[in-house]
Amino acid sequence: MKSLSEIDTTSKRACKAAGYSWGIAEEVGKNIRLLEMFGLPGIKNLNDYFKKKKQKRFENLNLINKENKAIKLEFCPIIAGTSFLDQAKALENLNEIYFEKIAYPLLFLPFVSRASEIIGKRIFIKLDDKEFLLNFNNNIYSNFLSNNIIENAKTISVKFLNNVDSFEKKEWEELYRLSEDTFVEESDSLKETGAGAGLTDND
């Protein structure tokens, strides 16, 4: 089994060899390491993308808007991802962002996952029918469990999720009441010797 360190180094070098700058190659090394750690087929997709890149051109998406449509070609997932990561704080205000035609979208995913950590919000991303919940770059929850290459996604939506509870108020109160069963009622004499007791708070 390859170690994550080997995966990082080899992906970085391969990315540089495929024509990207060292700075972007460093991002890709970290990204493929993340994908593989989360159990997603990073190496497989990166390798296939770089092979395809020799025969085919892809479009660079530098400035990300609410809606982003590739004109003739498909978007390069690495440049689109780098832009997304760099612009994440500004993009958060858009709430939901749409893309059309991103090649090898699994390679776009870790950039968005890292953005989730940077802005401190969960992000829900849909690549056609494949759904991914990106949890602050700690893990990825998905209905995509295969080890396949995804050559492209026609429609991609990215939604920034507000930090809200996943449960009802009533459920919380029920659970809290149960937790109170671990507390002990304090006697009056103990209350008189607690922190702050006996002093005037107006001093």
Partner: protein, 553 residues
Amino acid sequence: MNVELRDPNVVMKLSRLGSFHQSKLSFLRSFLKEFKDWEYKRDLFELNENGYGTAVYSFKKSTRVYSLICYANELNENERSDRVIATKWDAAFVLHDGVPTKQDIERLRNEVPKQEVGRLSYKELTLSRANKSVRAFNHVVESLSKGNQPDIELLSKVGYLYRTTAVYGSGKFGLADRFRIKNREEIYGPFRLEMMLVYLVRQFTFDQVDHVAKHKNPKKAVSLDDEICRNLGIGNSTGLGMAPFIVNHPTLLNNWIVAKEIALKTIREIKDVKTEDSDLFKIYLKKSIKNITSWNTDSEYQQKKIKSLLDDLNKFIQFIEKDFDFLKEFAFNNIYLWAEENLGEECIEYIVSMMMEPYDDIVNPLINQMSSEEEKYFNIPTDRTIGELREILEKKYSEIIKIDFSKKENYQNFWFISKNKEEPRMADRFNENGSELEQPLAIARDIKKLYEVISVAKNSSTIDKFLLNNNDLRHVVRRAFIVEKFPYSEIQDNTIGQSIIPIDMLRLKLSFFGALKFDPRSDKWLRICMFQGAPLPHELKNYNPYWVYNSLN
């Protein structure tokens, strides 16, 4: 009194980094301190009469076990090479996480001797190989087998029976990634498991030489005397492979240097130095001179450095004995200021290392802060402005941005990865092919380029906008924001200039390892000795922490 931390523009110059010496912070010393209470055992020793076979050594505490598995092989003289391109060695070693099963030992027998072309698993932590110093090894076998102890004079010239030619860890060739083990308290300090491997290899070399001598002459042979063993270390041949490490791990580099700098600052701020502490400083300063007078090297460059170190040290000792009063306030600060004024870099750094000796209470808490969570600082803060970036560059790279990179001599060399061994190398840009595949290690040149490019950018513009068209400079934008937080994370020198001495970069790292007696064999590789004078494993429970100055050699 508040003493400022030393200026990174002074400390992080290559000539200064190349003058660093071992200290109480060094990893091999902190390794021994951490593992002194662990149970040491030789679990397996199955060698034939020539010393070839398998051995296992372990350190154990509670349920945690680390086991070194040694594979000693027959090697023809013409196959023995210290170069990284070698494919066979006298012995190969792996540190296994836990107690290896028979199947583990057999699996690893097929992989470990192959080193870089073998495959390890997440159950293995570090990997190494070593060659005999044939001269020393054969002499010891001959002597012991005749019932005599070896010639100490000869051994002191070599300093070891084996020298390692590489020690790998952190995920190389399938070894365990650091994330799997980083929360173990016993390995909070850097390179702990690499140090453990080398330390146990040293014991293997003593056991092997005894074993071979005994089989040669079972009736007469004696064991190598413990005192002689203690004064032998493990040699190491180190090439340029180490140099990029310190460029590629900026926050880790910072944490090593900052530990040293905080220790120095705190010691300089001591108002009244206790007599017992000043005595200890003086005693070990004098004792340590033996480590310099026994420092053998054919390198003219190093010989000059040793001579100047010795001259300076004699001058310094005269000063503290005749003209200096430790009872005056802030004595160590006065010493430091005098040293900066009167001594060369090599001796200044030597004295800084020695100043730490009396102060466990200052040094020990710093040891566990020498690792780094590098991932935390990887993302570029793209909402920051060009104005802020410019300020960082002007403040943190003030010397670098003065370098004129239009002059050939300032970009004469380039760093690359060799195709045959995947090892970092340096070559002359104008005489060798391959500079188009240059590694991103020319930080000074690229920082200067970044500075020039942003000189025409708006101060209020944000980094995300700048990167839209300047991703070729992304790697140095990242570094600039790292050095803002970590002032000692960057070498403040040109790593591709004509006058670069790459072994300065190696020396920095090796001094933190705790290596002694740097012996440059060229400007691109050197030999060192580790653990010379160190306690033997069975002595660890009550060892003298100043062992490094007690060497007979």
